[in-house]
Symmetry: C2
Subunit: 314 residues, 2 copies
């Protein structure tokens, strides 16, 4: 149980996810495991009117706080939900793990316990952003690697392409490089060199590179399904959209597109390039966000995203 | 006369600027000089019902096209409006120059004819973006230097601060560094080192550095009056805002804040750090944008921005 409003909101979101996963199915192949204060979780399940047997519950007694040093907290708080969850994930007791708790601790678990897939230079965090057409666009990296080299971005094109195809069901996804002009000659040193690598990668069939995309076009999905950029730029793009969403909402302007940009409802950020499905939720996650985070984790497991990535980098 | 819709829209904008500059004044101290096909300009002034003597007109016979190579075109088309305008600016026949024509040619004129102020490492282009409070925020660089070093960004803090104070009338402007977190430890290699330089610069009284700002907060003006970033990031921020403006407008959502983001109406981008006031307009400039571009140029001249920058770098 993590996030600013845990465990109440986390349990509520889990119940919503449970209902959605089991709608119309006689037997669901998916089981949600909750990590946290068991007694409190059971009280909250009662409060939600949800049968106790809907979930497996693993009692944990410690909490990694937002102010804790991630590496130290992960080692010292061995009975926190994040530490226990990662252990069970490594042991194969669960198939995927998600939390809206400490992002730092989630990264420690991902890299130290689950570990990076061989030949992946750096793992990445991505976001599927909503667009005007309703089809999401995958943008990566969105903040994990803020000093990228061209070979790292080249791998992100492959990782993003596999994610878009296997998890989002987009056939032959169009991969674009975020740049400040559409022409191949445009950009800074990083994007100019990356452009050349992506052309080679596309020619050898690793992915379908369609060229540069300017930030003005990423929210329409007309040009690309996957947008590759370094983590500083990707994080700034997300934060700018968040800021404009907040302003627009406060001014009373709203519609389906803008509401899709409400980061409090988005389902979390998968860490890609590691040996198990792990999703980090926004600290401010609402119940809807927790629900979406769990559903995204289930989708990632069903899509065999990790096996596909391992295969691609073999 | 430059821009995609020249000379019609350019003349219309110039007439609007003339009227605004001369409203309520018996004698205006400001005279607008128009460069272009004199006969056509005179026809258009008649069409606008504007007296011919309102403007000085310098007849030019060549046009630098968008497809032209900027350096070659600037040298070869000596009788283009941009080449003639820069010559007259260098000779002191005019005090400032603005065009919505070829951005490349405008840069060539700025750096080769007007030249960079001594000790300025690289000139910069900035934009005053509208915010929710109505007070503009200066963001720089927005696309001229896409591979910035920390010492370049440190100078941009000073340049932006002087611009905000002298042209926009913001007293003791708050200068912030665009970053992916508010804490001083956040960022990529560039922003971490720049942060340290800005702290030193602030302590020595060069400007009022207030720390990092995340992209989510730049459109509120609550945190900063000047936002410093490298040109790749700044350009992406502007383009993303442009893209979201277009989407929002097409969906029929509008209000004063969003209309302020309409790049077709914004008055152009000053080139700062050179020895004369030069403003580049958007190729898609409307008459309102041309009017604002001329008014911005007049404001830059009146504010003695160039002298202030020369003084600051002496």
């Amino acid at each position: 149980m993590g996030g600013d409003f845990a465990p109440e909101v986390a349990v509520k979101g889990a119940v919503m996810a449970y209902k959605q996963l089991n709608t119309g199915c006689v037997v669901s192949d998916c089981r949600i495991v909750l990590y946290g204060d068991e007694e409190r979780i059971r009280q909250l399940l009662d409060f939600e009117g949800c049968p106790q047997e809907a979930f497996d519950i693993v009692n944990t007694t410690e909490v990694i706080e937002m102010g804790d040093h991630p590496v130290r907290a992960f080692q010292q708080k061995q009975d926190s939900s994040i530490a226990v969850g990662f252990r069970q994930l490594a042991e194969g007791k669960i198939d995927g793990f998600a939390s809206a708790g400490s992002t730092g601790a989630m990264m420690v678990g991902s890299t130290q316990i689950i570990r990076v897939i061989e030949r992946v230079i750096r793992p990445t965090i991505s976001t599927a952003i909503p667009t005007t057409t309703g089809q999401p666009v995958v943008i990566l990296d969105v903040g994990l690697n803020v000093d990228c080299k061209p070979d790292i971005l080249e791998q992100y094109a492959l990782i993003g392409s596999i994610y878009a195809e296997s998890v989002l069901g987009i056939a032959n996804p169009r991969v674009a490089l975020l740049n400040i002009g559409s022409e191949s000659s445009k950009g800074n040193m990083l994007t100019k060199t990356t452009y050349e690598l992506l052309q080679v990668g596309s020619e050898t069939g690793r992915y379908n590179f369609v060229g540069n995309i300017e930030a003005s076009h990423i929210f329409t999905s007309e040009c690309a399904d996957v947008v590759v950029c370094d983590g500083f730029v990707g994080n700034s793009v997300l934060k700018l959209a968040e800021g404009l969403y907040s302003i627009t909402a406060q001014m009373g302007l709203t519609n389906e597109f803008w509401e899709g940009l409400n980061y409090e409802h988005t389902g979390g950020t998968p860490i890609l390039g590691i040996n198990a499905p792990v999703i980090i939720g926004h600290g401010k996650s609402t119940a809807k966000a927790i629900k979406n985070m769990i559903l995204s984790t289930a989708a990632a497991i069903r899509a065999n995203i990790v096996e596909r990535l391992q295969e691609a980098f073999r």
